[in-house]
């Protein structure tokens, strides 16, 4: 009993703090227009099956793989990185685009973009409001993953600080994928096209930081005219190194800044795409 309460305090308090910061940001920092769009989008997510389907699929896959293939129970280790967190971004490569594919493509398909962008708001109000609403769905997924934390605490005595860091790293990675999806969805009125292209880009972004890519970059250096700059580029923006540092509990400012600036860049690009598409 005492252990459960301690566990709750360990996780519930940071989670509530994150949620509170988020709500305060919405209520007191961001303009009313962002709030209005955010409210509408959240309602729209949870009024349609899409949010539930995404959350459900994510939970089934993430838990299933951890227990059946990840060898959580057999490993005898009281940590979640090997069996759980290192796989999470793989699911988000698919799930984040599924959540975000409708962000701007739906708006274009319905023609409501014309309404939205002729209202007395700045485009970034709409982009940020919509993005925050989609990030709530991702947040819900991670909050609902809590049982796995309970299981590992029941079985052993893990470092819960590292587990929290794993969640933070996964959340930031998912937010990057969501931001990429936001840009892609601004290009097309078809949600399916947005989904497929976003999955492809997120996969590149995820794999770009892998060891083999880094090695290839080092050994090819300058050769293969077009391939090398491309490899170099995806290697630089590859997420894996930043993710694994954070998820192992090393809270580096460099990695946090990488994630936040990457998201900001994508949201800015969304605005550029929306502008160029109209001109």
């Amino acid at each position: 009993m005492e252990a459960t309460i301690a566990l709750l305090l360990n996780f519930a308090i940071p989670t509530v703090i994150v949620a509170a910061i988020f709500i305060a940001l919405l209520l007191f920092v961001l303009p009313r227009e962002v709030r209005t769009i955010f409210k509408r989008e959240v309602k729209s997510y949870f009024n349609s099956p899409i949010a539930y389907v995404c959350v459900f699929i994510f939970l089934v896959i993430s838990n299933g793989i951890t227990f059946w293939f990840g060898g959580l129970l057999e490993s005898g280790e009281a940590s979640l990185y090997i069996s759980y967190f290192q796989y999470l971004p793989w699911y988000f490569v698919v799930v984040a685009p599924a959540v975000g594919m409708r962000l701007w493509s739906e708006e274009q398909r319905l023609g409501t973009m014309e309404l939205m962008l002729t209202m007395p708001i700045a485009p970034w109000h709409a982009i940020v409001g919509k993005y925050l609403a989609a990030s709530v769905v991702i947040f819900a997924m991670l909050v609902l993953s809590f049982p796995i934390v309970w299981v590992i605490n029941y079985l052993g005595n893990p470092d819960n600080g590292v587990i929290m860091a794993g969640f933070v790293a996964s959340f930031l990675t998912a937010l990057c994928f969501l931001a990429v999806t936001s840009v892609v969805s601004a290009f097309t009125r078809s949600q399916i096209v947005a989904l497929l292209i976003s999955i492809g880009l997120c996969l590149l972004l995820w794999l770009g930081g892998l060891q083999p890519v880094s090695q290839a970059v080092a050994s090819l250096k300058g050769g293969w005219l077009f391939v090398w700059p491309f490899l170099k580029f995806i290697n630089i923006i590859g997420i894996i190194p930043h993710f694994s540092e954070l998820a192992k509990g090393v809270l580096g400012l460099r990695d946090i800044i990488f994630f936040l600036s990457f998201i900001a860049f994508c949201l800015f690009s969304t605005a550029v795409v929306l502008r160029v598409k109209r001109a």
Binding site: R32, E33, T36, I37, R40, K43, S44, N47, S48, L110, G111, T112, E114, L115, L117, T118, M119, P120, I121, A122, R275, R278, A279
Partner: protein, 316 residues
């Protein structure tokens, strides 16, 4: 209220709007006429700030649409073509959302929503989800969002499209009524609508303004304006024709129908003689025994003018 100067829009090679200028004052309803693809919607999209112009200036209520974007946009109510709506909301929620976005003060939102619902006759569907609405209701819901913040400027792209005749009538009256206190632009290709609710009309073809005036002024430009429609008998039809052609006031006679002893014709007067022509024809009746069954001065019709000055799509 609305000032458009030397406005142009290119899409790649294609010129959609070509150097047009016009103004609309408060209390004016401007009808935008033109064939499909003439540039009506593109112009409206630029005035509302959706599309950036390739060249030219637009100001709404003194605010430039590019430099003071938000100030200009907050003065406008806009009904886009095809009346787009968020299909996952109810009518009421949608209007509440739009009111909030349009910066209606929080404590006045409910009143604004109720008023818009009453004005656009949406009481019956206010709790219904948008994707279950019929076309007429969808259109009126979108119209309701355009007037929810009581804007000074209204821009309506085909506001009566898809409505039944009763609804069309209602919307026209609504536009006319609102036009007393606002500056309104609306586009249509139904010509009777222009006569019913516009104080001024502009005809656009291939991106250029080709006619601009009150509906009456425009009608006078039609070829048959001032011609006399005549149904007469009493003489052989060829005789009637000859007698008419002898009159100095007559430029030409178009015979529309002729029987043995009767004729139906359109008599075109010489320039400046349209006032004298009816009298001259009655004089014929006295001197030659012409029996006039029907005689009226044709007013000229907008659709004739429209057909005369706009080129059909097939011709290029």
């Amino acid at each position: 209220m609305i000032e458009v100067k030397n406005l142009s829009k290119h899409f790649g090679e294609k010129v959609a709007v070509d150097n047009i200028s016009f103004t609309v004052e408060k209390g004016e309803v401007l009808g935008f006429l033109g064939p499909n693809g003439a540039g009506k919607s593109t112009t409206m999209r630029m005035v509302t700030g959706y599309l950036p112009p390739s060249a030219g200036d637009i100001s709404v209520g003194g605010a430039d649409i590019l430099d003071e974007e938000i100030a200009a946009k907050s003065k406008i109510g806009y009904l886009p073509e095809n009346a787009p709506l968020y299909s996952d909301m109810t009518v009421e929620d949608f209007l509440r959302f739009c009111a909030e976005m349009r910066r209606v003060p929080t404590d006045q939102i409910e009143d604004a929503v109720n008023k818009a619902i009453d004005t656009c006759f949406l009481q019956r569907v206010r709790h219904q989800s948008v994707d279950t609405l019929s076309k007429g209701f969808r259109h009126r819901t979108c119209l309701a969002q355009s007037i929810i913040h009581d804007p000074e400027v209204l821009i309506l792209d085909e506001p009566t499209d898809g409505l039944d005749p009763n609804q069309k009538h209602e919307v026209r009256n609504l536009i006319k009524r609102m036009g007393e206190t606002k500056a309104i632009i609306f586009s249509t290709h139904i010509l009777e609508e222009v006569e019913a609710s516009c104080s001024r009309a502009i005809i656009i073809d291939r991106g250029k303004i080709i006619a601009d005036g009150t509906p009456d002024q425009l009608k006078k430009k039609a070829r048959n304006a001032g011609a006399i429609f005549l149904r007469a008998g009493g003489l052989a039809s060829t005789g009637i024709r000859q007698e008419l052609e002898k009159l100095p006031e007559v430029q030409s006679v178009n015979v529309l129908e002729s029987g043995d002893n009767s004729i139906v014709a359109r008599v075109i007067p010489n320039k400046g003689k349209d006032k004298e022509l009816p009298e001259a024809i009655f004089q014929l009746a006295v001197t030659k025994g012409l029996k006039v069954h029907e005689l009226r001065v044709e007013e000229g019709r907008l659709d004739e003018l429209f057909r005369e000055i706009t080129r059909p799509d097939t011709e290029d």
